[in-house]
């Protein structure tokens, strides 16, 4: 995936929209199995915001599970979050820019894949949260839209009319005549039993010779299982195709932070908490002493490099800048600190090339979203991995 060679051709795809019976939509369906990665250019801002917005939803799903919310509650909470951060309207909602909603859904999913493919534990959690999100959407999808989505891909099921031998295991309505009636209009799908373990475990299907005969009302089990298996496989492939990140000591702490953020629900006030812990505001001139006495090793190294070279490269600058922000260095002090640190460049160059970024990281420029440092490090992390893989140039 993410092969450089494919990119050119897919950019063309974008210019010539797919022909489908849904008019000119690039994404004809609301539901997505995420078979193909995004092959178009992505702005850094989109990359970051889409991933974070999706992460909010997945984190909410995890916390719903942790709080043991019922399925109905979980569905309600997740739908509310989705409306806020990741709306996905039906194809019939012609007044909405459905393509850009679906593009956001598509891209966000793939960005998070990069972040969550790294360990078995993260993969498991990501798959579980994504599967839940898919289920919520599947259930809220309109009947005909869902049907056309299902027929748009090959699920390798063999549709069957009812057969008398299937009646014995048919559940349906309680009363026997009603059950018979409902059975006769039921559709069945024949699949390998291993594709519907949940139904087998509960003896909800008829099994013969390794084949499960799945009644239409349980069809979603096949779909969900397929979604899960595909995503698991894809994540393993992604994990293998990523360069070995283990040696990259810069990334490990960020990834650890990220997974904690996932569990805790992407707290947006993390930075505030950090500042409160430090008490009074810090001044630019205090940083030297703090670095020596209190900074974690990786940050102290960055600080020492800054002092030695009077400069820090892009990544280190962002990382260290965010660290200082979380520490409680106010924006004015931060500008002062960086201005003094980059002692070999002119004011003009500083104002043009660096000041904007510092202000941006404090949420004073760009979209004016004051992202917490941890969220920001997600962005950096993804940026690096994205660059590794080549979806960002």
């Amino acid at each position: 995936m993410f092969k450089g060679a494919d990119r050119k051709s897919t950019i063309n795809d974008r210019a010539s929209p797919q022909v489908s019976n849904h008019g000119t939509l690039l994404y004809p369906y609301r539901l997505n199995f995420y078979d193909t990665p995004p092959m178009y250019d992505v702005t850094v801002e989109e990359f970051e915001i889409y991933a974070l917005d999706r992460l909010r939803i997945l984190a909410e799903i995890e916390s719903s599970r942790a709080r043991q919310r019922s399925w109905e509650e979980l569905k309600a909470v997740t739908s509310t979050q989705c409306t806020k951060y990741l709306p996905l309207n039906a194809t019939s909602a012609t007044s909405v820019d459905r393509d850009s909603e679906r593009r956001k859904d598509h891209l966000g999913h793939f960005v998070l894949r990069l972040a969550f493919c790294r360990s078995e534990e993260l993969r498991r959690r990501f798959v579980e949260a994504e599967l839940t999100l898919f289920k919520v959407r599947y259930e809220s999808d309109g009947y005909s839209e869902r049907e056309s989505f299902l027929s748009s891909r090959n699920f390798n099921w063999i549709p069957l009319k009812y057969r008398t031998e299937l009646f014995g295991s048919y559940q349906g309505p309680k009363s026997e005549p009603e059950r018979m009636e409902s059975f006769e209009s039921e559709r069945f799908y024949k699949v390998k039993w291993s594709r519907v373990p949940d139904l087998v475990q509960k003896r909800k299907v008829f099994l013969k010779g390794g084949w499960a005969y799945v009644p239409g009302r349980e069809q979603s089990s096949i779909v969900f299982q397929e979604f899960q298996v595909q995503l698991e496989k894809a994540l393993e492939v992604t994990a293998r195709s990523l360069p070995r990140l283990d040696e990259d000591t810069r990334i490990i702490p960020i990834l650890n932070n990220l997974s904690q953020g996932f569990l805790a629900g992407v707290p947006s006030d993390w930075g505030v908490a950090g500042r409160e812990a430090m008490g009074d505001d810090i001044k630019a001139e205090m940083v030297d002493e703090l670095a020596q006495k209190h900074f974690p090793l990786c940050m102290r190294t960055l600080h020492e490099n800054l002092r030695k070279d009077h400069h820090l490269k892009h990544f280190g600058r962002l990382q260290y800048g965010l660290f200082l922000k979380v520490l409680g260095l106010p924006i004015e002090e931060a500008i002062l600190f960086w201005r003094r640190s980059f002692s070999r460049i002119t004011d003009d160059k500083f104002n043009k090339e660096y000041k904007y970024n510092i202000r941006h990281s404090y949420g004073l420029e760009g979209k004016r979203a004051n992202y917490a440092a941890k969220s920001k490090s997600l962005h950096l992390d993804l940026l690096i991995m994205g660059a590794h893989i080549g979806i960002i140039q």
Binding site: S119, E120, G168, S169, Q171, S194, P197, R203, K208, G209
Partner: protein, 417 residues
Amino acid sequence: MSGMDDSSPASPEVMLTFYRRLYPFKSIFNWLNHEHTPTRLFTHREFAFTLQGDVYLRYNSFATADELKKLVCQLNPTRFEIGPIYTTRPKDKKTVRAGAFNAVQRELVFDIDMTDYDPIRTCCSGADICNRCWAFISAAVHVIDQGIREQFGYEHLLWVYSGRRGIHLWISDKEAMELTDDQRKAIVGWMTVIHGGKESSKKLSIRLNSRSLPPSLKSALDHLAAIFSDLILADQNCFGSEEGYETLLQQVPDSRIVGDLRKKWQKDPTRSSEDKWMDLKEEIKKMDKGTPQRVALTLALEDIIFNYTYPRLDAEVSKHRNHLLKAPFCVHPKTGRVCVPVDPERIDEFKPDRVPTVGQLLRELDTVGKAEGEVEEHHSDWEKTSLKPYVDMLDKHALRLMDEVRRSKREMVDTSW
């Protein structure tokens, strides 16, 4: 070997001779490997050894059957277990990242142990087993063997006596080997009716619409009803004692019938289980057909049959791909009996007390040796002992597996043209 006595059926000396002269390493290799030349199925497979004094050595692996034999003879374990195939050779586990060492394949295994039948059987308890209570195991083998073959379509099933009071099943079909833990859990769920523990009278949740049985259980019931009358009523006389019939009455959902029967049976302490079961059925027949009470009682009768005869599985053994299970042909340290394969078609004739013990086998070897004039030991000494039919059984089973691999390889070549 003449120093053998029954208090130490498997002394270290005896075990060493057994491994050197009798243990069928080649057959075990063929069965695990599915081919003649070593594949990952063997080389990446975990073996775990239990040494004298209960030292436990995990994550051993071997390139060949000879290598395995060599270490077994060197360590002289009391028994050894077979685990899954990993992504890396288990002996190299320490050289790879934790995340890169994963179990990827494994036979699907089942374990049925007599102790789970303690709430029911009346002839023995605990570690003991006799030919009479083996009938529970044999009923279980019928149901599981048939269910796995007909419902799941697997063909390569090897049943192995566990050496004392239970039986293991190893399924080696390619698809079964690759099942994930979730899928294994699903099979166990499909096969499980009785959820273990003492509460054999607990209500079963096996019905659709709280009424009809799923077809798989309906076909099992036909077989189990016959077992019920032979084993539970006639042989074990499970409802003979007061405790026994009270357990039965707890499962009857009609307090009037329960009261009447209790009175009747208290007056007649020698009344047989068969008669008591008839009494219960008579009571039900007195009720009007089609009434909810009669339906409920009829279903309760079926539940009782399941409760007393349906296989009791040790679910944890089956659920995990990385579970270790004692290798066939190991010797049970307490009984000295060899864990021999069992033909499911002839399970009813199987008698645990006829299974050769390691002491008996070595005596047989001695006798042959004297007749032949003490020749050098060689690898197929089992051929001269009563172990032979059992090794032949494993060889035949392995041959079928190897044929299948050869066939599927040929098909792959054909389609590539």
